[in-house]
């Protein structure tokens, strides 16, 4: 640990970095799932998380019990995901990826502006799950409960997703569609069903991420999760876009690196954190354009 000690890294920082990596991994899978079937990078993913976070904040403001807040969060994010698919993705399906990307930018800023109008720039505070920030002591190391919860929840979600993709018919259809959508459709795979399922699962993951992030950052503002989304997008590209496992690893890696650097750098330098991260991303992509964890030619086919 001497080397690490110089860098001001201790077990606590490592634990926090792991938790951030876990949350980012979930976001990466959420973005990757939709990309797989639609070849669409959903830039508005962060605003889904933001909406879920506001739902939690409102629920705690109204004095709702914890479970009701979580249910509301899932309901809001899932409904919003489905609306996004019906109103934006579906009409634009078959257009060029550039058109779709710009459309998701528009949706992102629209949602952010709506949040600004409704809740103001100062935001709201989600307190109902704040107790998870209290530490537990494991062999002389203080670790916040949320760290453990985040890692466990992420593992659980990923295992459930793997079972869905590997063991069910709709999962098989999703995998085939992300490999070759047209052939899958000509075999009778229903496009709307597969895309709807991907959007739904991706939305559920966004809700989970909203819950995890509000524990760590209880102040919910209209730009909540925006920075995280940009970092995760870099991570997804870093890992390799159209496969769940590389995307997950990419998300985890960038979250972990981000947490580690955030803990290691002195406070007056941590504002440069994104600079370091993106410099690293550019460097990696110059060397491996298909992604670090991708096999062969996994470059986006657009």
């Amino acid at each position: 640990m001497t080397m690490l000690a110089i860098w001001n890294i201790d077990w606590q920082v490592l634990a926090d970095a792991t938790a951030l990596g876990a949350v980012y991994a979930l976001m990466a899978v959420g973005i990757g799932l939709v990309f797989g079937v639609l070849r669409l990078v959903n830039f508005a993913y962060g605003q889904l998380v933001m909406a879920g976070a506001f739902a939690l904040a409102l629920a705690s403001q109204w004095g709702w019990p914890q479970w009701a807040g979580i249910v509301l969060c899932f309901a809001v994010v899932l409904v919003l995901s489905m609306l996004m698919d019906r109103l934006v993705f579906r009409p634009l399906r078959g257009h060029s990826p550039a058109v779709m990307l710009v459309a998701t930018f528009a949706v992102a800023f629209l949602l952010q502006s709506i949040a600004l109008l409704w809740f103001g720039p100062l935001g709201k505070i989600a307190t109902s799950l704040a107790y998870l920030n209290r530490p537990v002591t494991i062999s002389h190391v203080d670790i916040r409960k949320i760290t453990i919860v985040a890692v466990l929840v992420a593992v659980l979600c990923l295992v459930a997703l793997a079972l869905l993709l590997e063991r069910t018919t709709v999962g098989l259809h999703m995998r085939a569609s992300s490999m070759d959508f047209q052939t899958a459709r000509m075999l009778g795979v229903r496009a709307n069903r597969v895309i709807g399922m991907a959007v739904l699962v991706s939305g559920a993951l966004a809700a989970v991420v909203a819950i995890m992030l509000t524990v760590q950052t209880p102040l919910v503002t209209p730009d909540f999760a925006l920075r995280d989304t940009i970092i995760v997008l870099a991570g997804v590209v870093l890992g390799g876009m159209n496969r769940p496992i590389p995307a997950t690893l990419g998300g985890f890696a960038i979250g972990f690196a981000s947490g580690l650097l955030g803990g290691a750098l002195p406070t007056n330098q941590s504002q440069y954190l994104p600079t370091f991260l993106f410099a690293a991303v550019i460097l990696v992509l110059l060397v491996r354009p298909g992604g670090v964890f991708a096999r062969g030619n996994a470059v986006e086919r657009v």
Binding site: T169, L172, H173, M179, T183, R185, M186, L187, G188, R190
Partner: protein
């Protein structure tokens, strides 16, 4: 079993007129060939039937129009396509590829019987069912592609150049399978480059050039090279 009727089909991609006023029929239990040079409009015809090419005219299955239907609905109505280049899902197992083919089956149950039916026709597919499909040879992949289309138990089977790039012995296997498929009462529309072979195997064989039907040959014309060459270059 339902027959396929194509009437006055036109396919245009922007300024390119790929298929012009094409009409033909495929009845249950017969093989109809579609031959012609590259760019004659053979694949475009298949794509128009599947609903993935911009087309005008009429396509009927069992008297019902398929116009404007989505590809997944055309497949579920009973038309299965073995696409050009096989389009096997290389990263999935052989069995998973077959399960994808089951997506277009009408009605539930009976999947086991459908699988047994194709295993009987293509023993090699059953033998390698646990392998990654990408690890199969070209000929085995072609058999898998046909098997994948057949498990949907279609009325009509469309094949886009199934013999392309295959060794002669494997071509024999494919053509023997087509005869067996026809004998099960399925209507087969076979797009091919191997003209002589296709004319011999088909009940009727239409020769396309420049998107138009030029001449229709019967099995008795299989050795009539002169007529075939004339049709190709007309």
């Amino acid at each position: 079993m339902n027959g396929l009727v194509v009437r006055h089909l036109d396919v245009r991609y922007g300024g390119v007129h790929a298929v012009r006023d094409l009409s033909f029929e495929v009845a249950p239990g017969e093989i109809v060939g579609l031959i012609g040079a590259n760019g004659a409009g053979k694949s475009s015809t298949l794509h128009a039937i599947m609903g993935v090419a911009p087309a005008t005219g009429e396509v009927l299955l069992g008297g019902r129009s398929l116009r404007g239907r989505r590809p997944e609905d055309v497949a579920r109505d009973g038309i299965a396509l073995v696409p050009e280049g096989r389009r096997i899902f290389a990263e999935l197992t052989v069995e998973e590829n077959l399960r994808l083919g089951l997506a277009a089956r009408r009605g539930r149950g009976g999947a086991g019987a459908a699988l047994r039916g194709v295993y009987e026709l293509f023993p090699v597919v059953e033998e390698f069912r646990r392998r990654q499909a990408g690890a199969l040879s070209g000929g085995q992949q072609q058999q898998l592609a046909i098997a994948r289309a057949l498990v949907a138990e279609p009325d009509i089977l469309l094949l886009d150049e199934p013999s392309l790039g295959l060794a002669p012995t494997v071509v024999d296997v494919v053509f023997a399978a087509l005869a067996a498929i026809r004998d099960r009462g399925i209507g087969v529309l076979l797009v091919e480059q191997r003209a002589q072979r296709t004319v011999a195997a088909s009940n009727r064989c239409h020769v396309l050039a420049n998107g138009e039907l030029r001449v229709t040959l019967g099995p008795e014309n299989a050795d009539d090279t002169e007529t075939m060459v004339a049709a190709y270059f007309s």
